[in-house]
C-alpha cells in the first residue's frame, strides 16, 4: 500500500492521520489505505477474485468519509476481510445527500494476521473537515483505539 498520501498524527491515547487526494474519490481511497496501515494490515494484492460493493449515503462529505471507514472497520474486525483495489469509485452530491458507490477486491485475513491487528473502536468525527485546495482535497481523521 502507498504511504505518501497520508501521515500519522501524534495523539497520546489514540491515532490520527492527515490524508490527501487529487479528487474526493482519491481522498477516500487514500484514507482507506491509511486506515489499513494503522490497523497493521500487511500490504498486498487481493487474495481472491471476490468483489465487494459499497453503497453509502450521508448528509455531508465528512459524514460519508466516517461512514465509509467505519464500514471498512466493521468488515475488518467482524468479517476479517480487507477491501482494496477500488474500482468504479464515485462520490457525488444528490442534494441533500452525498453518495458513495464503489467496488473493491476482497482479501481474507489469516487468523495469525488478524490476531495481531490494532483494534480500532471507531472512526470519529473529531476535527474532520474536508478542505478543497488547488491541489485537491485534504482532511484529518482520528481513530478511537
Amino acid at each position: 500500500m502507498k504511504s505518501k498520501t497520508f501521515r500519522e498524527i501524534e495523539h497520546t491515547a489514540d491515532v490520527g492521520m492527515e490524508v490527501s487526494g487529487k479528487t474526493l474519490e482519491e481522498l477516500f481511497a487514500n484514507a482507506a489505505n491509511g486506515f489499513y496501515s494503522i490497523t497493521g494490515v500487511p500490504p498486498g494484492e487481493a487474495s481472491s477474485a471476490e468483489r465487494y460493493d459499497l453503497s453509502l449515503s450521508e448528509l455531508s462529505k465528512e459524514e460519508l468519509l466516517v461512514s465509509f471507514l467505519n464500514e471498512l472497520n466493521y468488515l475488518l474486525m467482524v468479517q476479517q476481510i480487507v477491501i482494496t483495489g477500488f474500482s468504479s469509485f464515485k462520490i457525488y452530491l444528490d442534494s441533500p445527500q452525498w453518495t458513495l458507490l464503489c467496488t473493491g477486491a476482497v482479501s481474507r485475513l489469516s487468523p495469525q494476521v488478524y490476531d495481531q491487528l490494532q483494534e480500532i473502536k471507531s472512526v470519529t468525527y473529531h476535527k474532520i473537515k474536508i478542505v478543497h485546495q488547488k491541489n485537491g482535497y485534504t482532511t484529518q481523521i482520528f481513530f478511537d483505539i
Binding site: A13, M77, H126
Partner: protein, 485 residues
C-alpha cells in the same frame, strides 16, 4: 492562569474553575494540582472539551473534569456532566464508544505467599481460558439472537441463571448489573452480531485481567468491611461492552447528528451531538446504551467466573478454601438517571454522564449494598500493569460537588507510537518479570504500548481526589500476574 481567552480561577489547591463566558451555559471545573493544570494549559484539547461540554442544553452546576482528564471525543476523558432530566439532552459523546467500560474486583482468602510460586502457571491458565486481543471470541458458546435479547434486557441476572456466578453477586454490582430501562430492540442487528461471540472476552488496548496482592491498607476499618487485608490475593478486571458497545455508539452518533439539527441544538463539536432526553432519539439511545451496559456487566461477570475456575484448576483448592467472591463492580463510561442536589437542599432528577469517571456515592446512599452502606460506595481505580491500582470509597463531598463522581484511572503519558519507539529493542516481558509481574499478552505491540512508563502515575490522580475529600483511599493493589489483549 489563562487558557485562550478564559481566565482560570484557582478555587483551592486541587480545584480550578473556567468561568462561564460566551455561549457557555455553566462554568467548567477541573480537579487538578498546579502542575497538572499547567500541563493542561499547554494542550489544546482537554480544557476546550470541558468548555464545549458546558454548552450542552440543560447542563446543571458545572462541566466537571477529574484529575485524569485527557483528550477524548466530545467529552474529555475524565469528564462529568449532569443534564436536567426534563429539559436537558443526552449525548453519546458523554458516554464514549466503550459503553460501560468498567472495573471489577474479586477477592480470595489466599495470602500472596502461597500463590506467588504458582504465578506462571496461573497466568498461563488465565490466558488460555479468557480470550484476549482484537478478535477475542468464543469464551463461551456463541449466543443466539434470543440469548442476546436476554443478556441485553436482563444483564447479569440472566448470565447468573446460566451458571456464571451466583445471585449474591448481583448485590455487588453497580445497578445490580442491570439497567431496567434497556431496550434490546433499539440495538442494531450489526451490534448484536458483534456481541454474539464476545461475551466473556477481554478485548485489546488497555483492557486487562490482573492477579494482584494488596500491599497497602490506608484505612483498616473500612478495608475490613470490604473484606480486604494486606497480602491478600485479589482479581482485578478491566473491560467493557466490546464491539457491541462500539457499534451502538457509532449507530447513535449518526442518529444524534441528525437529531441535533432537527431540534436546533447548536454545539461546538460534532462528537457532542445530542438529542433531548425525552425525544424519541434520546429515548432510543438511552434504551440501546442501557442494553450495551447490561452486556458489559455480563461480560465482566462471565470473565470473573472463568477466572475463578482457572484459579481452582491450578491451585487445586476447594471452593471454600479459595473463597472467591465479588467485592464490587463499577462502570466508568455511562449515562444514568440519578437524583442529586443541584440547588441548596433540592434534589433533582438529572442524567449524569460519566465519561472516564466513576460513581462514588456517600455512606448511607441506598444504592450501596447493605454490607457497605455505612462506609460508602467502593470505587476501583486501575493503574498501569507495573505499579499499582487503588480501592477507594465515595464521600458526601462527592455527592455535593461532583454528582457523586470521582476519577477512573491514570491516563496515558506517551502516545502508542512513542511507547513502541522507546520499547524498541527492550524485552518488556523480562523487565516486568524483574518487577515481579508475570505478563501474557496477545498482540505483538500491546506490551510496548502498555508498559508502565507509557502511563501517568495513578497515585497522583487518586491523591488529588483523596485530598479534595471526593474519594478516600482504602487499599493499594500491586500486580503479580497480568493478561492483556
Amino acid at each position: 492562569m489563562k487558557f485562550k481567552n478564559y481566565e482560570i480561577k484557582k478555587i483551592d489547591d486541587h480545584l480550578f474553575e473556567i468561568p462561564k463566558s460566551g455561549s457557555m451555559l455553566k462554568p467548567g471545573r477541573v480537579y487538578a494540582n498546579e502542575q497538572m493544570m499547567r500541563q493542561l494549559l499547554s494542550e489544546e484539547e482537554p480544557l476546550q472539551q470541558v468548555i464545549n461540554v458546558a454548552h450542552l442544553p440543560g447542563i446543571e452546576k458545572y462541566s466537571l473534569a477529574m484529575p485524569d482528564i485527557h483528550w477524548g471525543y466530545g467529552f474529555p476523558i475524565g469528564g462529568v456532566a449532569a443534564t436536567d432530566w426534563d429539559s436537558g439532552v443526552i449525548s453519546p459523546g458523554g458516554v464514549g464508544y466503550d459503553i460501560n467500560c468498567g472495573v471489577r474486583l474479586a477477592a480470595t482468602a489466599l495470602d500472596s505467599s502461597a500463590v506467588k510460586p504458582k504465578m506462571n502457571k496461573l497466568v498461563e491458565e488465565l490466558f488460555r481460558t479468557i480470550p484476549t486481543g482484537v478478535g477475542a471470541s468464543n469464551a463461551i458458546k456463541k449466543l443466539n439472537k434470543k440469548d442476546m435479547t436476554h443478556v441485553l434486557r436482563e444483564g447479569v441476572y440472566w448470565v447468573v441463571e446460566q451458571g456464571f456466578g451466583n445471585e449474591e453477586d448481583l448485590n455487588y454490582i453497580e445497578e445490580t448489573g442491570k439497567l431496567d430501562w434497556a431496550q434490546p430492540e433499539q440495538v442494531s442487528p450489526r451490534a448484536i452480531e458483534r456481541g454474539q461471540t464476545q461475551l466473556g472476552t477481554l478485548g485489546s488496548g488497555n483492557h486487562f485481567l490482573e492477579l494482584d496482592e494488596i500491599d497497602r491498607i490506608y484505612d483498616e476499618r473500612i478495608a475490613e468491611v470490604l473484606g480486604l487485608f494486606k497480602g491478600q490475593i485479589v482479581v482485578l478486571i478491566h473491560t467493557g461492552s466490546r464491539g457491541l458497545g462500539y457499534q451502538v455508539c457509532d449507530d447513535y452518533l449518526k442518529v444524534m447528528g441528525k437529531a441535533a439539527q432537527k431540534y436546533h441544538i447548536a454545539l461546538p463539536d460534532r462528537q457532542l451531538a445530542s438529542a433531548p432526553i425525552n425525544s424519541p432519539e434520546g429515548q432510543n439511545y438511552l434504551g440501546a446504551m442501557a442494553a450495551a451496559a447490561n452486556f458489559a456487566w455480563s461480560n465482566r461477570q462471565v470473565i470473573m467466573t472463568l477466572a475463578k475456575k482457572a484459579l481452582l484448576r491450578v491451585l487445586g483448592l476447594s471452593e471454600s478454601a479459595l473463597d472467591f467472591h465479588l467485592v464490587y463492580d463499577v462502570s466508568h463510561n455511562i449515562a444514568k438517571k440519578e437524583k442529586h442536589t443541584v440547588d441548596t437542599n433540592v434534589k433533582k432528577t438529572v442524567c449524569v454522564h460519566r465519561k472516564g469517571a466513576t460513581r462514588a456515592l456517600a455512606p448511607g446512599n441506598t444504592a450501596i449494598p447493605d454490607k457497605y452502606r455505612s462506609i460508602g460506595q467502593p470505587v476501583l481505580i486501575p493503574g498501569d500493569m507495573g505499579r499499582y491500582s487503588f480501592v477507594c470509597i465515595g464521600t458526601q463531598k462527592a455527592e455535593e460537588e461532583t454528582f457523586g463522581s470521582t476519577c477512573h484511572g491514570s491516563g496515558r503519558l506517551l502516545s502508542r507510537h512513542k511507547a513502541k519507539k522507546i520499547a524498541h529493542g527492550r524485552d518488556i516481558f523480562k523487565e516486568m518479570a524483574q518487577r515481579g509481574v508475570v505478563v501474557q499478552a496477545r498482540g505483538r505491540g500491546t506490551l510496548a504500548e502498555e508498559m508502565p512508563e507509557a502511563y501517568k502515575d495513578v497515585a497522583d490522580v487518586v491523591n488529588i481526589m483523596h485530598s479534595s475529600g471526593i474519594s478516600k483511599k482504602i487499599a493499594r493493589l500491586r500486580p503479580l500476574g497480568v493478561i492483556k489483549g
